[in-house]
Structures are given as structure tokens and as C-alpha cells.
């Protein structure tokens, strides 16, 4: 058998070439991971077109004809991480997703939460900001979860998302005293002044309130309703989503994301 094989090989021209090829075969045959897309592969225009809603401070707003805010800083930081320039496209709220579908923008960074109804056309990154409803107490309070609110006084803004949560919890736990106020800030005043035991407010209001009342030692034991703000990208361009998500995670792990948000809240 071996003699036959040797005779066949001897018939082939350049026998030594075949020996080398045979030796290299295992190396050639091993499937190789494709090279990760470069920034220019993912964004062939050589820039990242970012859709923003410039009417929504502190996320994006015009100050002296300049776009500023969390979403603007985040877009700039992501673009720097990816290594491409950014071009902002100001949009109205109603047209945010249509601009993405119609290829007017590559990325949507506009304080939007994940929308399950759009996931057939949109990829979302992990959250960059938690805009949910928080349970807020004073540091000395023994209230650490919603069931502790039973028998106590709970403040909230009338007609807000927090109000809806209060209605839900009223059906889940033992009775508590409802304290509706006209504004979320009044609900926080009530807790700070000891006139309520806890408040439910959105985290943006809470950040802004604490900024205005640095002396208050508030405690936020729990997010009652999570509303994560995310970045939206087209589903038919997954390499863009991979790149933006990687850049976002890099900003998060380095602490740059927290620093960036703390600049505005």
C-alpha cells in the first residue's frame, strides 16, 4: 500500500511541493475567526450620524446655539472611543425612529427607553442611564422596600408614573397613607421635612433635587420601576451595534460614563 502511494506521489510533478502542502493542510483547514470590523467598515460614511432630541434637558438642549447635555457628551465620548467624527442630527420626538429607519441617522441617542414593539427593526445597547422610579427615604429611616411602607406615609406627584406605581402597590401591600403633591419636588420636600416617611419619584428629579439640597442625607434603597435609557441602532447593521456597545462598555468600566453623567446631574 505504501509502495503504491509512493509510486502515485512520484508521478506528481514537484513532489516536495505536495509534501509542504500536506504539512500545512491542518493549519489551512482550521476555521479562522473573521477579523473584527473596523470603524470604517461599520460606518462607511466615515462619521457617526447621531439623532438627538434637542428639547430635552439635561440630555440634549441648545445653549447659545450649541448642543449640550448627557446625550451629546455620550455621543462625543463614544465617537472618540470608536475613532470617528460625530455629526448630530436634531430631531423631533415623533420622528426619532423614522429617521433611523430611513437611514437619516446611524445611532439614536435621545433619552429613549427600550421599546419591545420595535425590536424587529432596532437593536438596543445596554442601558446608559437609569431613569426609573425610586423609593426615597431619609438616611435614618427603616423603610428599605415597598412592603415597609405599610402603615406609613408615602408622597408622590399626582398623575405621574410614580402615582401609577403607588396605585399598583396599594393593591399589593397593607394600607398606607397616600400623600399626593402637585410636583415631585414637593413629595421630596415632605420626606426631607419629616412630613412623609418615603417618596416615589423619578431618578432625574431626584438627582436634580439632591443637587439643590446637598445638606439632605437622602437614601435611595430601591428602584421600584426600572426605565433604562438606551441607544438604538438599525438591526440590519449589527456591526454598528457591536462597535457602539463595546465603546459604551469601555466608558462604563473606565468610570467615564459616571463622570459624564455627574457633570449634568
Amino acid at each position: 500500500m505504501a509502495a503504491t502511494t509512493r509510486r502515485i506521489i512520484a508521478l506528481l510533478p514537484f513532489t516536495w511541493v505536495w509534501w509542504i502542502l500536506g504539512a500545512l493542510l491542518p493549519v489551512i483547514a482550521i476555521p479562522r475567526t473573521p477579523a473584527p470590523p473596523t470603524a470604517c467598515d461599520a460606518f462607511p460614511r466615515g462619521e457617526i450620524r447621531v439623532g438627538v432630541d434637542a428639547s430635552h434637558a439635561p440630555f440634549a438642549a441648545y445653549v447659545n446655539d450649541t448642543l449640550v447635555g448627557i446625550d451629546i457628551d455620550l455621543a462625543n465620548a463614544l465617537a472618540a472611543q470608536i475613532g470617528l467624527p460625530v455629526r448630530f442630527v436634531p430631531l423631533g420626538y415623533d420622528g426619532l425612529y423614522d429617521a433611523l429607519y430611513a437611514d437619516q441617522i446611524d445611532v439614536l441617542i435621545a433619552a429613549v427607553p427600550r421599546d419591545p414593539a420595535r425590536t424587529n427593526r432596532v437593536l438596543y445597547t445596554p442601558s446608559y442611564f437609569e431613569a426609573g422610579i425610586a423609593l426615597v427615604t431619609s438616611r435614618s429611616s427603616t423603610v428599605s422596600q415597598m412592603s415597609d411602607v405599610s402603615g406609613r406615609r408615602l408622597a408622590y406627584e399626582f398623575g405621574s408614573s410614580a402615582h401609577s406605581e403607588v396605585d399598583i402597590w396599594a393593591r399589593r401591600i397593607l394600607p398606607f397613607t397616600r400623600m399626593p403633591y402637585q410636583y415631585a419636588a414637593y413629595a421630596l420636600d415632605a420626606v426631607r421635612l419629616g412630613q412623609a416617611d418615603a417618596a416615589l419619584v423619578d431618578t432625574i428629579t431626584l438627582h436634580q433635587y439632591l443637587d439643590a439640597h446637598p445638606e439632605w442625607d437622602a437614601h435611595t434603597p430601591r428602584i421600584i420601576l426600572s426605565i433604562p435609557y438606551v441607544i438604538a441602532l438599525r438591526i440590519d447593521r449589527p456591526s454598528q451595534a457591536v462597535m457602539v456597545t463595546a465603546a459604551l462598555e469601555e466608558l462604563r468600566s473606565s468610570g467615564a460614563l459616571d463622570t459624564l453623567i455627574a457633570r449634568w446631574l
Binding site: 434637542a54 430611513a102 408614573s161 415631585a184
Partner: protein, 384 residues
């Protein structure tokens, strides 16, 4: 023995009959999930009060019933509701009216008048060569006749129940025009196609030209075109013969309702400038409907006011509109959303997702029904 076999026979026939009823009943439409009670009428002292609802995306029928009950109790006699073409005719010439029917069933039960806004292009009627750049608002001229056919089918089916139609929405904005170049002439061509078809289907139909978005975008802007310029262009291109009424969108933004109209300002009384254009083009007898108006009370939106201001300006807006004899109805945007946006659009609503009625709901109810507002909705601000 004979009696026994007859009894067995009877049982067998009863079983067969039962099986037959089961099979036949599977062909019947399912019973409505929200039971209709007695038919109501709207008690109101101000029949021009109207609200824009968003019911078509509602999954639970009881939420449609609950919303419309609250609308009636508020004293609003009319609603504007959006009926997407894409929902009804998702396959060409195959009409599924179920979602429209169930809304109509409840509006009739509550005694409400419905203005139908038509739009949203089905997948099959979108340009194939623009698969990655078109949207649900991209209607190209080769499909105008299909849209007209749908509108005519709608008008025919609901004649006598729904007689007022808004043809498209804010075509002066790029995104509402599917990111095609904003072009008044194209919209006139759409009206020219739709108007005769709807009139043939329902001679009593009132066809409204689309409301324009209040905007100051100049000519050549990629985002849209100033509503005043756009309306002038509609008249210049012969639109007047193809609509029976003009739909108007006018918002207060951060300005009071009394703020005087000015071409450079977006405010509530901008509606008067649109009316002035109608008169200038001799369209004096054509009425107008404000199909979206209002103020927003988001704590963070740049174009919002405070909740008490929102209430005061909305009521004042209605008082001003009482003297506009050219106005048929004025509809507040928006009664309720089926799901929260968790963003400032939630602060346009009168009722939240969980049917919590907001202070502005009660204020509008007091205005529409002539009731004194007595509810105490919130506590006074805490004092140190």
C-alpha cells in the same frame, strides 16, 4: 327494550347536534370582550370640545370602553382617532375591519362623533427600491389610487357613522412625508385622487385637508416647510376644490393662549394666520377643525409649561376659540396613550395609562359641562 334503544338513539342525536353546534359556532365572530351597556348621549354645554384618542393600538377592548366612557363623562362630543391603512389592508384588496369595528361599536355606544384620520402605508404599497430608506409614511404617487380606494372603502362602510375624514398628517414635515422631499404639489395630487373617490363612496363625507405641523422651517430645509407657506402653496396648486374643511394643528408651547399671532411665532393663535390664508384665497365658506392642540406640562421638555399653566391656557384657548365662527371642533392632543413613553409626550395626556385622570381632565370637564370644580387633588406644598 324498545324504549331503551330509543333513549340511546336520542342521546346519540343530541351528541351529534351538540357537535354540529360546536363546529358551526367556531365560524362565528367572537363575542365582544367588553359588554356594551345602554346607549349614552354626551352631556355638554360646549359641543366644540373634542379630544384626540389613541385607541387603535389598544389590545384590551375594555380599555377602549373605559377611555370612551371617560371622554363622554368629560363632556367631549367628538373624538379624532387614527385608522392606519396598513392595519386594515395589510394585503392588497384584503380588508380586515375588526379593529375599526370594535372602536366604532364603543363610540356609538357612548354617543360620540368620530373624525377619522387616515394614513400609514402598508408594506406592499411601499417603494421596493427604497426598502432601507422608506418608512410607514412613504406614500409615492403610484400608490395614491390604492390609498384612495382604501379611503373610499372606509367611507362607504361607515357612512352615516363616520362622515369626517382627515387625509394624511402633517405632510409639511419630512418624516411625516416618509423622508421624501416635502412637496405641496404632491399632496395636492393626493387630494385630487382621494377626494372624488371618497365622495363617490359617501356623498355626505367631509374630506379634510391634512393638518400642517406648526413649524418655521424655511424653503429648502430638509426637515420640512413652514405651515403658512405650505398652505399658500396648496391653494396656488388648486387644492381648494379637493377638500371640504381644513384640519389645523396649533400648539401653545411656552406661550399663553392670548399671545398675538405672528408669522415668526409658534403659538396657539397661529390658527388665525391659517384662517387668514383661507380667506385670502376666497375659501371663506370652508370651515376648519383644530384636530390637535394643547400645552405640555413636562418638568423637563423645553417647550412645556407648569401643570397649572397648562390648565389655565387650555381653558383660555377654548374661550378664545368660542369666537371663531369658522371653527367646527377643537380637539386636545391627547386623551391617553396605550403605553407610557416614559418621556415628555406622556405630559400631553389627560388620563394616564392606568386611567388616572389628571387635573386638566377635571378642568376640561368643568368647562365643557359647566360644572364647578370641587375635587381636591393634591396636598398643599410642605412648609418648614
Amino acid at each position: 327494550m324498545r324504549i331503551q334503544s330509543r333513549a340511546v338513539n336520542l342521546i346519540q342525536w343530541a351528541a351529534r347536534l351538540g357537535l354540529l353546534i360546536m363546529i358551526l359556532s367556531s365560524f362565528l365572530p367572537p363575542p365582544p370582550r367588553a359588554i356594551l351597556g345602554e346607549t349614552h348621549t354626551v352631556e355638554t354645554m360646549r359641543p366644540q370640545v373634542c379630544v384626540h384618542t389613541r385607541l387603535i393600538d389598544e389590545v384590551d377592548e375594555w380599555k377602549i370602553a373605559q377611555s370612551l366612557q371617560y371622554v363622554r363623562e368629560m363632556g367631549a362630543a367628538t373624538i379624532v382617532e387614527f385608522f392606519p391603512w396598513a392595519y386594515v389592508e395589510s394585503s392588497r384588496d384584503q380588508y380586515n375591519w375588526a379593529s375599526v369595528d370594535r372602536i366604532v361599536r364603543h363610540t356609538e355606544n357612548q354617543g360620540l362623533r368620530v373624525i377619522a384620520r387616515l394614513g400609514i402605508v402598508p408594506e406592499w404599497a411601499r417603494p421596493i427600491d427604497q426598502e432601507h430608506t422608506s418608512t410607514q409614511n412613504t406614500l409615492t404617487p403610484e400608490f395614491y389610487a390604492d390609498f384612495a380606494e382604501f379611503a373610499a372603502e372606509f367611507a362607504s362602510r361607515y357612512a352615516g357613522i363616520i362622515d369626517e375624514f382627515i387625509i394624511w398628517n402633517e405632510p409639511n414635515l419630512a418624516f411625516e412625508w416618509g423622508f421624501q422631499a416635502v412637496d405641496p404639489l404632491r399632496y395636492v395630487e393626493l387630494l385630487q385622487t382621494v377626494y372624488p373617490a371618497v365622495k363617490r363612496a359617501n356623498p355626505n363625507a367631509v374630506v379634510m385637508a391634512a393638518p400642517l405641523a406648526p413649524t418655521l422651517e424655511p424653503r429648502g430645509s430638509p426637515n420640512g416647510l413652514n405651515d403658512l407657506l405650505y398652505l399658500e402653496a396648496l391653494y396656488e396648486n388648486g387644492a381648494a376644490d379637493y377638500f371640504d374643511a381644513l384640519a389645523i394643528h396649533t400648539y401653545g408651547f411656552t406661550r399663553p393662549a392670548d399671545d398675538p399671532p405672528s408669522a415668526e411665532t409658534l403659538n396657539f393663535r397661529r390658527a388665525e394666520l391659517l384662517r387668514a390664508i383661507m380667506i385670502r384665497y376666497g375659501d371663506t365658506d370652508t370651515p376648519a377643525y383644530i384636530t390637535e392642540t394643547g400645552w405640555n406640562d413636562s418638568p423637563r421638555w423645553a417647550n412645556a409649561v407648569s401643570p397649572p399653566q397648562r390648565i389655565a391656557e387650555t381653558i383660555r384657548g377654548y374661550e378664545i376659540a368660542e369666537s371663531w365662527d369658522w371653527l367646527e371642533s377643537m380637539c386636545v392632543w391627547v386623551f391617553r396613550f396605550p403605553a407610557p413613553t416614559f418621556n415628555y409626550p406622556d405630559y400631553f395626556t389627560l388620563v394616564n395609562v392606568d386611567f388616572q385622570r389628571k387635573p386638566i381632565y377635571y378642568a376640561l370637564r368643568s368647562y365643557a359641562r359647566g360644572l364647578a370644580q370641587s375635587e381636591t387633588l393634591w396636598l398643599p406644598p410642605p412648609v418648614e
